[in-house]
């Protein structure tokens, strides 16, 4: 199937007083239409920055983002807003912080509709918003409530309704369930999956929770310090993961069995600073298998099996 999104060598650097912070460094990947790419990695590895750079909430430093063949990273922001703003939407991490506390549920959902449908009358906007509420499973009686009166799941539904009301094709889900209770996480994940089936949506699903990503993704990309270290089909990462960092991440998934013996791979060492990093494997400082080559040369992303990309000098060893 055709790729909806092709990201090529995308870079996002932030200039800080101590130097250039490489938040997203040379990231390359594709997402097929109707599929979900799960992006995992620890806090601060640039997952959210990657999502926000795709949305042009951050200006990309370098690289290309082809959305249906059109380079959205390098077009003027005005043109992007006109052509693609509605097409690429985002569901935010924290539904407590990402909704204006002074707006009622209906107002929050009407807002995007009003911006993108100038010709609508008030009644049309309202009926469209109410339709969206029903669509994401929010009762009509909540329309005059304020976000602070609702639980996290309902609030996240508001966020989803806001994003969906613009009929996007691609949605960046920035840890949409990490702030929710486990019981509600499942509801929201199911809602997202149903919507994907209904509307043929394409997701980039950012999370640090391996069990969530397993549930929802077709492909999984593992990020470490701004770089993509491994990308493969979802089933494969749980069976045949190659990169040592992915192995460590997977060993962190708790096994719900008291008697199971569990070899956890404990990582030692400090996180390498993302500010002006040296040209070496960024995981080398914590990697138990690191060699001199790892400390001297940056590994490139190589296709080790069909559809399975790894950035590790010693990938052959772990296959």
């Amino acid at each position: 199937m055709a790729n909806l999104l092709e990201v090529k060598n995308l870079k996002k650097y932030f200039s800080t007083p101590r130097g250039m912070l490489h938040a997203v460094d040379n990231v390359t990947f594709n997402i097929e239409k109707g599929k979900t790419l799960g992006v995992v990695g620890e806090s601060g590895c640039g997952k959210s920055t990657l999502g926000k750079t795709l949305m042009r909430l951050h200006e990309p430093t370098d690289g290309q983002v082809l959305f249906k063949g059109d380079d959205i990273a390098n077009m003027p922001i005005k043109q992007f807003k006109q052509k693609y703003r509605a097409n690429i939407q985002m569901i935010f991490q924290d539904p407590y912080a990402s909704l204006d506390p002074r707006k009622s549920v209906l107002e929050l959902i009407e807002e995007p509709i009003r911006v993108h449908n100038r010709s609508y009358t008030k009644a049309e906007i309202k009926s469209h918003a109410e339709e969206m509420m029903e669509f994401v499973g929010l009762a009509k009686r909540l329309s005059n409530s304020y976000p602070h009166e609702l639980d996290g799941g309902r609030r996240q539904r508001i966020g989803i309704a806001r994003a969906l009301s613009l009929n996007p094709e691609f949605i960046v889900c920035d840890e949409p369930v990490s702030a929710l209770d486990v019981s509600i996480q499942a509801q929201i994940l199911n809602l997202l999956q149903d919507l994907q089936e209904d509307k043929g949506l394409t997701y980039m699903f950012i999370t640090h929770d391996m069990s969530v990503v397993k549930h929802i993704s077709d492909d999984i990309a593992v990020m470490y310090l701004g770089q993509m270290v491994e990308k493969c089909p979802a089933e494969e990462i749980f069976k045949d993961t190659i990169h040592p960092y992915s192995q460590a991440l997977l060993s962190a998934i708790p096994i719900p069995d008291v008697h199971a013996s569990h070899d956890r791979m404990i990582m030692k060492g400090e996180l390498t600073s993302p500010i002006d990093p040296k040209p070496c494997c960024r995981f080398a400082a914590r990697c138990p298998y690191a060699t001199d080559e790892c400390r001297a040369k940056e590994p490139a992303l190589r296709e080790m099996r069909p559809g399975h990309f790894v950035a590790c000098h010693q990938a052959e060893k772990f296959m």
Binding site: K52, M55, L57, K81, R85, A86, Q89, M90, F92, Q93, D94, A97, S98, L99, D100, P101, R102, E111, P112, V115, H116, N144, S145, Y146, H148, E149, G159, R162, A163, L166
Partner: protein, 302 residues
């Protein structure tokens, strides 16, 4: 099953019908609820309300004209006829103080509004755009702040002469930096929130984001500064009149009445006591109200 009615049930039903439906809880209504529960804030509000009434009905309350001189009754101590005594021209100080309320409140309001729309707006712009814009605006404000307030007032009066507009301008310039700083901080606090990014993500324009998300969320804090600033401008106005760069005699401004009385402080202390008390009470009331508003809008700031 038929519904059974007992007198007790009817009573309960009646009571329920009397009860108002629970109001929708908006952040503003929550704030008002908190404000109502705060006795000191209510005292402040009551005193301010009384002062406003005094200002409106000054001609009805004051027994004499504030300019009327009476050489038969100069420097009289407070009595039933002259509640606050009389000054060296035989003018009734009570009447002067009552009329002074008008000047103080109106000029304070003008000063605050002027400062708010000059400094405050600059602060909002600086806070939203950040970067170079912020840098330029705030450095200009720093320069303003480096000039002593009284000196600036004196310069303005020296160039433009005495009068209410000049006084307002002087206080406005002197207070612009603080206003700008406060509003900038309020906007910065809101700007960091996720919902601003979310508004950007759904394609709202910058102007729309400022007007419909940032200002409504920062307005609570801004009102607090606004009310607090009323007290500050009354103080500034009185001190400027007192040293002679504010309003000109015979305006019954509190600072001027103080100035009139300063020569007689040993023989007739009441001449200074009452206007000073009024200044104190007014500022105190505004401050109480401001604190109450702060607690009401943002309990975390306490």
């Amino acid at each position: 099953m038929a519904k059974i009615h007992t007198p007790a049930m009817e009573k309960i039903e009646k009571r329920n019908a009397r009860r108002k439906k629970p109001a929708v809880s908006t952040p503003s209504s929550e704030a008002w609820k908190r404000f109502k529960r705060n006795p000191t804030a209510l005292i402040g509000l009551a005193v301010v309300a009384v002062l406003i009434l005094i200002a409106i009905f000054a001609p009805l309350i004051a027994p004499f004209d504030y300019q009327q001189q009476n050489y038969a009754e100069m420097m009289k101590a407070p009595s039933i006829k002259h509640l606050f005594g009389t000054d060296q021209f035989g003018r009734d100080i009570f009447s002067r103080v009552v009329y002074g309320t008008r000047y103080s409140l109106i000029i304070a309001l003008f000063c605050t509004v002027a400062a708010f729309f000059s400094g405050g707006l600059l602060g909002i712009i600086a806070g939203y755009f950040g970067g170079k814009v912020d840098m330029v605006i705030m450095r200009i404000m720093d320069i303003f702040q480096a000039i002593p307030m009284i000196m600036m007032a004196m310069c303005i009066v020296a160039v433009l002469g005495n009068g209410i507009p000049q006084l307002v301008a002087a206080i406005m310039f002197a207070s612009m930096p603080t206003m700008a700083r406060n509003n900038r901080a309020a906007i910065l606090r809101v700007r960091g929130n996720d919902y601003i990014e979310s508004a950007e993500a759904i394609g709202l324009s910058r102007f729309k984001i400022i007007v419909s998300h940032m200002i409504p969320n920062a307005v609570g804090v801004m009102i607090i500064y606004f009310v607090g600033f009323l007290a500050v401008s009354i103080m500034m106005m009185s001190s400027m009149s007192y040293i002679g760069v504010g309003l000109a005699a015979p305006t019954p401004e509190w600072g001027l009445i103080l100035n009139d009385g300063k020569a007689y402080i040993t023989t007739a202390p009441y001449m200074m006591l009452f206007p000073a008390l009024m200044i104190m009470i007014t500022c105190f009331a505004f401050n109480l109200m401001g604190d109450g508003l702060r607690d009401a809008f943002d309990p975390r700031l306490k």
